[in-house]
Each structure stands twice: as C-alpha cells, then as structure tokens.
C-alpha cells in the first residue's frame, strides 16, 4: 500500500498546475471566489470550459474515442483537486458529467456525433429536467407527458428546481411516454431544445438571494422522436446511471478544503477580531478539517478500487451524504466567524460586478449566502434521507 502518487502522476500534477497558472486569469479566479451559489455563472463557467477544451481537457471522464483525454482515475482525481485548489470556476456539469456519459453509454451514433463535441467545446449549455412539483424524492411518479405524434413527441407538463434553465440552450429530461403498472417502466429519456416553442421559464429565488433554479413549463412542445436516448420506457435505467455519476463523480474533499481554508483565513484575520481565538471556533475548525481528511481518504480508497478494476460498491451515497454535511458545517462556521458582518445583506448579483464597494470586506460577501444556499446540499441529487435508505438497502442488505 502506498498513499503517495507515482512520479508520472506527480509530473501530470505539475502539468495541470502549469496549465492553470497560464490559463486561469486572476479576474476569473476572483469572480469564482465571490460566487456564493453551487454553480458558477456561465460568464466564467463557459470561459473556463473553453480554456479546458483548447487543451483537450474539456471532458475529463470520457473515453478517448469521444474526445476524452484518456485519463486514469488517479489523473482525474489530480485534475479535479488542482482545479479546486486553484479556485477555478465550476464548468457546466449537467453537460460534461451528467448527460454526456448517458449519451456515450446509450445514445445513437448520430446523437453522439452531434451533441458530444458541443458539450466539450462549451457551445451547448445543459440543464436537467428531473424533479416536478409533485415528484421530488419519489421521482418515478413524474407526470410530464410525451405523447407520440408522427415523428415527434408532444410534451406537456412542468419541471422544477431546474438549475440554470435560464442560461441553458438544451435540457435532458425524464418524461412519461407510457402509463405502465410499474411507473418506472413508462419513463423515457429525452433531449429538448430550450428554444422550442411552448417552453416558458419562471425564475425561483432561493433564500441566499441567488437566481439559480427555475420552474420550466411545457405547453404542447414538439420534440423529434430522434431526440429520445435509447429505448422508449428505459429512461429510468439511464436516469439512475446518471444519478450515480451525479453523486459519486467529482472529488469533493479538495473543494471542501479550499472552502474551509477561506473560513480559516477569515478567522485568523483582524477583520473578524481573530475569531480563531474562540475555543469553540477553533475546535469546530479542527473537527471539520479532520472530517475532510476522512472524506478524502474514502475518496482515495474508491479511487484505488477503480484503478485496479474493482467495483467500489454503493459508496457514492456515503460520499454524497458526507460531502453535503461537511459543506453545511463549513458554511455554518463561516457565518459564526464573521460575527457582526453576517447581518449585512447585499441583494445585487453577481458580487464581482457591484457598482460600488460593499459595506463589509468584499471577501465576506458570499459567507451568509453560501450558508443559506448550502442547505440545499442535503436535498438535491437525492435527499440525505433517500441516501440513508440506499445505504440500508445496498450496503446493509436490508
């Protein structure tokens, strides 16, 4: 056993660092540091995706025949960790990490040829149409209907919590194509052009003050049958495949460590009256840091299993649970660290394009919104309660 990376992997790490040093402009990094939402705004997210694409790194997890860089799991880990350390923006994960793998796994050659290059290059921006007002954790009860009419489906219904629907030009959605006894069997996976007539989008502001999510309405929206991925009625299988990517993909520990470091820097600054000198603050800081070490070690165990071709098992639920809980603990600590300044509300967005200097130190602006937004971590992608159900079933065999 060995916890250190090989010489080749170290060399790769250096290559990633060099690339970031040359391609991540200070303004982009600054903008990301002032972004309190889960996703980066497209002005920086797409710009970073384009920079990665120019280097051939636009789709890290994809196989080489679809334009992936042919990285080992360790290289992917190193890449993600370095991006997090450098404070790079988040790319459009709905494209690269969610719909991309589904199209690669189950899409037709035509779909692959059309969509995949546009995801890699940042030309297409995707949103995810899964949840509905009446279907949250019980996703399989979804009611948005797609009725066959010649070479089209006609879609009616509504999707909700659709992140960046107001930026996206495409949506992948789960829709009901059939009423079946087992409701999972009547669901299909479909790709929708957001400019199609009959689609309207309503913004939903979240408690942090950010516009990230939306409700999307479909009113007799025509979508070619050719936009269905895989077989009719198999959408649930593809959707679950994607959810596993959503939960287990990404390396959470490096991002959490950077977030904690930001809080720790604030706690050691005179601006917070050295909050770190409060024994409660310093103890919690230490506990969270150890929790991040633990999560990182679990991620590395999974990585090692993947490297040797083993199946890591239902560990994605565990990683998702702990990531979300630690994220909430970090952001909660941030609020306590900034003390009085937590009362200051800045309604304008984005924070990196304010017209005048804020009334508190700029780096404190995202702290409270981040905490408020982070409450969603234990809800999206399958709530913590659902993850515990999955662990009970898949890990404990209950």
């Amino acid at each position: 056993m060995d916890l250190t990376f090989s010489a080749e992997e170290r060399a790769f790490e250096q290559e990633v660092r060099d690339f970031i040093a040359q391609n991540l402009p200070a303004e982009m990094k600054h903008a990301q540091s002032l972004t309190p939402s889960v996703f980066s705004d497209p002005d920086i997210g797409i710009a970073w995706q384009k920079a990665l694409h120019r280097k051939g790194w636009g789709a890290p997890g994809w196989p080489v025949e679809h334009g992936g860089p042919d990285w080992t799991p360790a290289q992917r880990w190193i890449f993600e960790a370095e991006c997090a350390r450098a404070g790079a923006p988040n790319v459009n994960v709905m494209g690269v990490k969610m719909v991309g793998p589904v199209i690669i796994g189950f899409g037709s050659p035509e779909q692959q040829n059309f969509y995949l290059p546009r995801i890699r290059s940042g030309e297409d921006y995707w949103c995810q149409g899964y949840s509905e007002p009446g279907s949250g954790s019980d996703l399989a009860s979804l009611k948005t209907r797609a009725v066959r009419d010649g070479d089209d489906y006609i879609i009616n219904g509504t999707k909700i919590w659709t992140t960046h629907a107001h930026h996206a030009n495409r949506m992948f959605a789960l829709v009901r194509t059939n009423e079946t006894e087992r409701q999972q069997d009547g669901i299909s996976f479909i790709l929708i052009d957001m400019k199609s007539p009959g689609i309207t989008t309503r913004p939903i502001l979240t408690i942090g003050g950010d516009h990230e999510v939306n409700q999307v309405f479909f009113d007799d929206v025509r979508v070619p049958v050719a936009n269905r991925v895989g077989e009719e009625g198999k959408g649930w299988t593809y959707g679950k495949y994607l959810l596993e990517f959503e939960r287990g993909s990404g390396i959470a520990s490096a991002k959490l460590r950077e977030a904690l470091k930001t809080v720790s820097d604030l706690a050691e600054s005179e601006a917070t009256g050295r909050a770190i000198d409060d024994p409660d603050i310093s103890m919690r800081m230490s506990e969270i840091e150890v929790d991040i070490d633990t999560l990182e070690m679990t991620e590395l165990r999974v990585l090692s299993a993947l490297q040797t071709g083993q199946n890591p098992g239902a560990v994605s639920s565990l990683l998702k649970l702990r990531n979300s809980e630690i994220r909430q603990a970090v952001t909660r600590l941030g609020v306590d660290v900034i003390g009085h300044d937590g009362l200051y509300v800045e309604p304008m967005r984005p924070f990196y394009k304010l017209n005048e200097a804020p009334g508190i130190p700029e780096e404190m602006l995202p702290v409270v919104p981040e905490y408020l937004n982070s409450r969603a971590y234990t809800i999206f992608g399958g709530s913590s309660e659902i993850q515990r159900d999955i662990i009970a079933k898949m890990v404990l065999g209950l």
């Binding site: 056993m1 916890l3 679990t298 299993a305 649970l321």
Partner: protein
C-alpha cells in the same frame, strides 16, 4: 497510490481472522477475566509461532520487518475477538521504543525475546497530573555511582502486571531537579517498585506503579541519553494508529451483531429493521464504521512521515475514530433494547472496549486540539 492489500497482507488478514474466530468467544473472555495475568500465556506462544510477535521487529533482531499496515491488519482482527493479549504493550509500544532508541546491545538482548514470546513489556509513562500531555513527567531519575535512582508514580500502566521489564519514563534530573526525558528499563522484581494491579475496562489488566528509590544500572537507560520525548511521541502515534484499527474491528462486529438482531427481533408484528428510523440509524452506524476504517488506514500509511504530518494523521484518526466509536457503541446498545445493557450479551463487552479505546492516550477533544496545535495555522491545503 495503491490502497489495495497485497497477497501477503491478504493472507495475514485471513489467518488472523480465522485464528481469532476460532479462539475467542464469550466463554474464553469470562475465563480470562478471572485470570491474574488477564490473558492466556498459551495463546501468546501461538502468536509467537504464527510470527505475529516478530512482525514489526527489524530483521536483524529476529523480526520480520513489517509495518503499520500489517499491524493494523492484525489489530483489526484482534478487535473482532476482543483479544486481551498484550500485543500493544509488548510488541507495538515496548519493542517499538527499544527499536527506536535502544542501544545495539539492548536491541540484541531484548527484541529476540519479544519475537519468541519469552518477554512481556510495558510502558509506564502516564501520570495523574499530566492527563494526556506526553511531555509532562514528574517522575525523576537521579544519577548515582552505579547507575540511576528512580522516584515517582505512574498510572494506568497497560499490562504492567505481566511485564518482565517495565519501561519507565522519567525526567533526568540535574542539580536543580529538572531535565529532559529518559526511558529506563526496570525489571519487574526491582526493589522499591510497588504495583497495584487491576482489571482493565474492556478486558486485560493494568496497574499503577509506585517507584521509591528504585535503583537500576547504568545500562538501564534506553539509548544515548538524548531527550526521549520525540521517540515517545512517535511510538504513541504508532500505538494510536494500531488502536484505531482495533477499534474498527470492534465497531464492525457491533454493527454486524446489531444488524442481525434488528432483523430477528420482532415488535408490532414486524422486524425492527422494517422501521425507517432503525434503518437510518444502521446506515449512520455503517458510515461511521467506514469513516473509522479510512482514518485508521490513513494514520498507518502516514506513520513514517515527518513528525508533524505523522502526528496530525494520528491525532486526527484518534479524534475521529473516537467519535465514530462512541456513536456505534451507544447505538448498538440502544438498538438491542434492554438486553443491550445486560452482561448476557456480548454487546456490552465490545462497548466497554471502545470506551477504553476512547480514553487511552486521550479522547477526541484532546486530539482535535493537538491536531490544530501541530498544524500551526489551522487549515492547510
């Protein structure tokens, strides 16, 4: 980066699990609990034959040159059976200290005896006033014409009752009575040494020591007389990594037994495990077990790193595993209902061993503080 077991490590795990599974049960534990030694000398011989006592000792001293990962594999299996043989005291700590700072003559004299099972060792370091601060030692060593005179009191000396040689830490006093730490080999039968021995929470025995004018020879000092604190810290970090692995074995056993029980036990016409509140609790227990496993392995893999990284990994593991262990132990009792608080089930024994784990070398709060203090600044990327 490879965290999979080698073939040799897998074999070690299989043989340890098999041996523990066949040897240790509730009946065995009851027998040993009334034994003045606190464990079985017969089994210790078998440990020697299996090569386990030689495992971490250097090859030139009759050992196998194994590392912290191999120790962890053994300790996890020991945890599953609540093994009370003095492996930690004798092999991990005792032989560890001698290997780290003993003179060549001391190593040649003592380490082969550890490897062949003929010598038990114990470390007498803790003192009441110091709590868990390894640097605070009031016991004094005075230079005499023939060697050294030791005076002081030591508390909770693990397996001190069985040890042939007790390694006593003391301040090597100058004319003003202050100085750096030294480690001294004190034979069990030394004059002036009084032992008050007692059964230990969770199995095995320990004792409190009174040293009043204990005279030992010049060759009793381990090593060259340089400050022993860094060596004590390194070996205690090693012990904590080993104990972490043992705790993982204990926690996994508690989880397995509790899971089984909640499937069998029926109330309101259905198994306990059919209730979501129970299923979620079990899921949390499983997560805590897995996190403990990650941290025990991490501490073992970082045991040869530079002292700050090593110490942070060991303290982080001790703190985190302690927290996980408390949760798993308490929930195991809770989910067994009233039966969980009786001596009629094994659960209580495992519970108590985890409580002892949490106390040994300091609990979570102590180690979160050490983790932060060693870091200098709080968070490093």
């Amino acid at each position: 980066m490879d965290l999979t077991l080698s073939d040799e490590q897998r074999l070690l795990r299989e043989s340890a699990e098999r041996f523990v599974g066949e040897t240790y049960d509730a009946e065995h534990r009851r027998r040993v609990a009334n034994d003045p030694l606190g464990f079985s000398a017969e089994i210790w011989k078998q440990f020697a034959e299996l090569g386990w006592l030689a495992l971490p000792i250097a090859e030139e001293h009759g050992g196998l040159g194994g590392g912290a990962v191999e120790i962890g594999i053994l300790m996890e299996a020991f945890g599953r059976g609540l093994v009370s043989e003095p492996y930690l005291s004798t092999v991990v700590i005792g032989a560890g200290l001698i290997g780290a700072c003993g003179s060549e003559a001391q190593k040649q004299a003592l380490l082969p005896k550890v490897a062949d099972g003929s010598l038990y060792l114990a470390l007498a370091h803790s003192e009441r006033a110091a709590r868990f601060d390894l640097a605070e030692v009031a016991t004094k060593a005075w230079k005499t014409a023939e060697g050294w005179r030791l005076d002081g009191r030591k508390t909770a000396v693990l397996d001190g009752n069985a040890a042939g040689q007790i390694i006593v830490s003391a301040q090597v006093a100058d004319d003003n009575g202050v100085g750096e730490l030294g480690l001294f080999l004190v034979p069990a039968e030394a004059a002036g040494l009084t032992k008050r021995d007692f059964p230990r929470l969770g199995g095995g025995r320990a004792c409190n020591l009174d040293l009043r004018g204990v005279h030992v020879g010049a060759d009793a000092l381990l090593g060259d007389g340089s400050d022993a604190l860094p060596v004590i810290e390194a070996v205690v970090d090693r012990a904590m990594a080993a104990l972490g692995a043992e705790a993982v074995g204990i926690m996994q056993t508690l989880l397995d037994q509790t899971l089984e029980y909640t499937k069998i036990r029926k109330q309101f016409g259905r198994p306990l495990s059919a209730n979501q509140v129970i299923r979620h609790r079990l899921a949390d227990m499983a997560m805590n077990c897995d996190e403990a496993r990650s941290m025990a392995l991490r501490a073992a893999l970082m045991i040869d790193a530079e002292p700050v990284a090593r110490g942070r990994a060991a303290s982080g593991a001790k703190a985190k595993i302690g927290k996980c262990a408390r949760f798993v132990a308490e929930q195991s009792v809770q989910l067994h209902g009233a039966m969980g608080v009786t001596e009629e089930l094994d659960i209580g024994s495992y519970f108590k061993r985890l409580l002892a784990f949490d106390t040994l070398f300091g609990g979570s709060a102590h180690h979160y503080r050490r983790h932060a203090a060693l870091g200098g600044r709080t968070v490093q990327s």
